[in-house]
């Protein structure tokens, strides 16, 4: 049981980071980015291609993250412009539909180019005992990276872009009044969310291969975590991620894979129906 829970935490941290990217873009721009998973897979494929070309792992990973971030910038500066011109519900709907289109475009292109593509980051080494459980080296790396990034995110909160982002989330007009450019912040966050998604794909590949077809799975997962945590709440996404990660591994271990997916989906549905603001949302 302990092993299962620890595995759950490893997974949960990644779930959390994945959810953070999704929830940030929603909190800032009111857009549910349905192409989010594709951004992750894009990063994974770039890393895979770079690795197979002999590039050192760190450079390859950086390239992947950069690619996803770049995709974010492009999407935000082009397709999202008409979306941001809308308000409220119309904005969310249009954003949803346009990003769905983008998701299909990226998915189709990647699948066409790399029909069997997958990213596997094999990290060798003896399993290390943690709290009496033998953890794979890949898991430990994934955890380490996840925690480091989480800490980074926390530190970023106090920086200029971080304060700007929080200001825009809380009151966009107010942010303008103090000299913050909401469009610039949105682009930055969109790009950052892409990098985050890419990072999760990379850490995920340390324990199990990330296939080129995994795009929508990532998106749905991110959506579930973001919803359960409370749309727009970064801390909520993180917390929800860890909790759902543990639920996921426990359920998969004792019951089965398909039921686990249903449980996660049900968690999101239940959150919406019973407590729409999620765990830590407003």
């Amino acid at each position: 049981m302990k092993a299962v829970v620890l595995d759950g935490i490893v997974l949960g941290l990644q779930f959390g980071l994945l959810g953070v990217g999704m929830t940030l873009v929603y909190g800032l721009g009111g857009v549910l980015n349905l192409a989010y998973g594709q951004m992750a897979v894009l990063a994974a494929m770039v890393v895979a291609v770079a690795l197979s070309g002999g590039t050192p792992a760190l450079v390859a990973a950086a390239a992947g993250l950069l690619a996803a971030a770049a995709a974010g910038v492009v999407i935000d500066r082009t397709l999202m412009l008409p979306v941001y011109r809308q308000r409220g519900e119309r904005r969310v709907l249009l954003g949803l539909l346009l990003t769905l289109g983008v998701a299909f475009v990226i998915d189709g292109l990647l699948l066409w180019r790399y029909p069997d593509g997958a990213l596997r980051l094999a990290i060798g080494g003896e399993a290390v005992p943690i709290l009496g459980v033998r953890m794979r080296v890949g898991s430990l790396w994934a955890t380490g990276v996840s925690l480091a990034v989480a800490a980074l995110l926390l530190a970023l909160r106090a920086t200029t872009p971080g304060r700007a982002a929080h200001a825009v989330i809380q009151d966009e007009a107010g942010a303008r009044l103090v000299g913050i450019n909401p469009a610039a912040v949105r682009t930055f966050i969109f790009a950052a969310s892409g990098a985050l998604a890419g990072l999760v794909a990379v850490t995920r590949s340390m324990t199990s291969p990330v296939s080129v077809t995994a795009g929508f799975d990532f998106t749905i997962l991110a959506l579930i975590v973001a919803v359960v945590g409370g749309l727009g709440s970064v801390a909520g996404a993180f917390l929800a991620g860890v909790l759902l990660g543990i639920v996921s591994t426990v359920s998969a271990f004792y019951i089965g894979q398909y039921i686990t997916t249903i449980v996660l989906l049900a968690a999101a549905a239940l959150t919406i129906v019973v407590r729409p603001r999620g765990l830590l949302g407003r």
Partner: protein, 232 residues
């Protein structure tokens, strides 16, 4: 410092204000007086970039800022305090104030000035802005604008939602600011209060300037008195 010429602006193709000319000299306090629906808020929003300008020009210290996005105008030294305040509800009073100086860190002396002016804010430094009373939120909104050491401070109906006593003390604070050399442009329904602090004023009616002049002259103007001061 601020020169507005022939400004027209509105919503959905219809102009709410037309051909407005306003001048604010450095160190002056100018009031825009008018009743509800006269177009004061529309005018202010057009001036500070929150609403597109359909005609006319706005010059700030000689520079043409017409149509510039709001955040760039804010950074140019024109601070606007709207009637809705637009504070950051989940951030503390202090964090709200700090953001006033964005992108720089706040100047400690500027923050101290705000706390001197509004001691209540200092008491509630760590409280989230959303939990403050209406009057305190108004103070915070003004304070946040002040932290940026603006060259021109624009306030839209600063007495909105304030009890008369608080309204008066709000204008006391504005008087102090004026003494310290802050240039003020205030839109106000409550004419006596506005004229008590302003050197000059403009009367806005149905989107156009009807009267302008020194405060005392406006206060003596019989039409102004009848329409806005309730005097026969």
């Amino acid at each position: 410092m601020l020169e507005v010429s022939g400004l027209s602006a509105g919503y959905l193709g219809e102009n709410v204000v037309e051909g407005v000319d306003v001048k604010v000299g450095a160190g002056q306090a100018v009031a825009i007086i008018g009743s509800n629906g006269a177009g004061k808020t529309t005018l202010f929003r057009a001036l500070c970039g929150m609403l597109p300008v359909s005609a006319g020009q706005v010059r700030f210290d000689g520079e043409d800022i017409t149509g510039r996005p709001a955040h760039r105008i804010a950074r140019a030294g024109l601070a606007y305090v709207p009637a809705e305040r637009h504070l950051f509800p989940r951030m503390s009073v202090h964090e709200n104030l700090a953001l006033g100086a964005f992108p720089r860190r706040p100047d400690p002396s500027a923050v101290r000035l705000v706390f001197d002016l509004f001691p209540r804010l200092q008491e509630r430094r760590r409280q989230p802005a959303g939990s403050l009373s209406g009057g305190e939120q108004q103070m915070l909104a003004v304070g946040r604008a002040l932290v940026s050491r603006p060259r021109l401070l624009m306030l839209d109906e600063p007495t909105t939602g304030l009890a008369p006593k608080l309204a008066t003390s709000a204008y006391e604070a504005l008087r102090v600011l004026k003494e310290r050399g802050v240039t003020l442009l205030v839109a106000e329904q409550q004419v006596p209060l506005a004229l008590s602090v302003a050197d000059r004023g403009y009367v806005l009616e149905n989107g156009r300037i009807r009267f302008e002049g020194a405060s005392q002259d406006l206060a003596r103007n019989p039409e102004v008195r009848r329409a806005y001061l309730g005097v026969a």
